[in-house]
Amino acid sequence: MGVGEVTINALQACVGVGAIAYAISGVGLNLQFGFTGLLNLGHAGSMMMGAYGTAIFVEVTGFSDSNLWVRLPILGAGVLIGILAADIMGFILGLFTLKLRHEYLAIITIAFAEILRRVIRSKWGKENLETGGANGIQNFAEAFYNISPIPPNGHYGIGDFTFTGRQVWLFLWALPTLILIILLIRTLLNSPWGRVIKAIREDEEVARSLGKNVFLYKLQSLCIGGTIGAIAGILFAFERQNVTPDDFEPELTFYVYTIVILGGTSKIWGSVVGSIVFWFSLIWLEGIVKLAINENWLWVASVLKLNNAQGGVIRFILVGLTLILLLAFRPEGILGKKEGATANG
């Protein structure tokens, strides 16, 4: 494996369904964090509710039915139920936390998401909620791939830059979903509704003093963001045909934050740019570090004694470093404007 191959792998990752799912998730978080000023650290919880809502519903109803025309509507209903589950979670969480100050909201949301994850992972969850425990649920979206008109085992692309038929089929759904969500959120944010949302971010006392029901707007923002997070979680689960509780650890929320900040908070398209850059760097660094260890560049293997397992961690260190440098030197992100980020403009 050489640098060229590593780069192609990274390019494939940054335009794949995983990157699209993260971008969608970023749009939802950006609405909450970048536009409304809600420091929601439980975003992974919304994604998890979406994925598990879908998977559990399919599992308990029509998993083993051999007829595609039974399984397909059940999968569709499962998707809606996953989104609804995330909405209900956002609503309940909002009712109890939105009157609190930022830091409390952050603590409670991260704790709430983690509690939910632990319940899903537990033996109790496995026995009573059909969550599958730590192993999760697999192959619940088979019906979706069964209706694909694209031969699943073919390879599509140029040279080494290829995708399987299954990937292309999901991509054809994921990309329009992303674009649709961005257009919808843009419409919302460019309307008077969006103006109130931004005013709440700037100073919620002003919004209240001018007759705006701040609590309601925050709740709406939390629920819309949660819905979008759920859609991202569902796409993510569809891609892998697998949901496990460990996919939704708190660090997932921080990856999405990285994407939002990378692209620029309060820039809707920023999440797309952020996701592409994030995935490219992550996969490219992984390949390069591995290459460096195998070929002993800069004596990393002989003198620093790095092995492949340690190499896998280094990319996250580098991503963290990039985020710190970005916040220090370009807090407005890649797409942002200077006025947006610094306090005094």
Binding site: L184, T187, L188, S191, P192, W193, G194, R195, V196, K198, A199, R201, E202, D203, E205, V206, A207, R208, S209, L210, G211, K212, N213, V214, Q220, I224, S266, E339, G340, A343, N344, G345
Partner: protein, 266 residues
Amino acid sequence: MDDVFVKKSDPILEAEGLKKQYGELVAVNVNHLEIQRGQVTAIIGPNGAGKTTFFNLLTGFTRPNQGSWVLNKKSGGQNIPTLIGGLPTYQIARAGMVRTFQVTKTLDRMTVMENMLLSSQKQMGEKMLRSVWPNWKTQQYLDTQKAEELLARYGLKEMKNNYTSTLSGGQRKLLEISRALMADPELLLLDEPLAGVNPALIEKILGYMRDLANQGVTIVFVEHNMDAVVDVSDWVVCLAEGSVIAEAEPKNLINNQAVIDAYLGR
């Protein structure tokens, strides 16, 4: 105390037994106070007298321990809601009582025009589901024109597309007042509108306040600049240690012994 109260002929606001305590400290303890409609009423008093807390109680930012206030008790057949203290802040604002803040609060990452448009009431585009379909644009167009008129009146028209973080201190004060007016308030509460403002601009703001009163807007304001208070107000209320110690026309009030002892200090 508080038997100093004077009955008004046409009160827009009546506060009754309004009390706010922080532990042992009694921040506000107003037995009865009426605000006359269409007048400029000043609230004066030493620092810590409870002036801002009184504002916060009236606008719902702070909940009273006891007591209530009523807006438009005698609405004279007009369809104006009668309100009792303790409503959420946003409902008080919708009822026609809008405030400004002691430390100016502009929305920095928004433009001057966005600040203005935010304040317009009953915008259908502010409802989440209706905002998606752009038929709110007609209303927004009319609001924009109204905002431009207000901005022109207060000398901010050139800055309408600037971020408010680029405005000077005085311009921010003016923006806050014009933004409050955009909501068409019946009763405007200004918390230290002249603090940190240069003399020429003070004259201007006082002129604007008189104009507004002449147009029928009732103004209540907190201020320490006594020359300005005497100059612009029709009525002055003096608070000390949370209670009303005197209320009168300005020229009478400045000779009141209790006011001199508690506040003016000469």
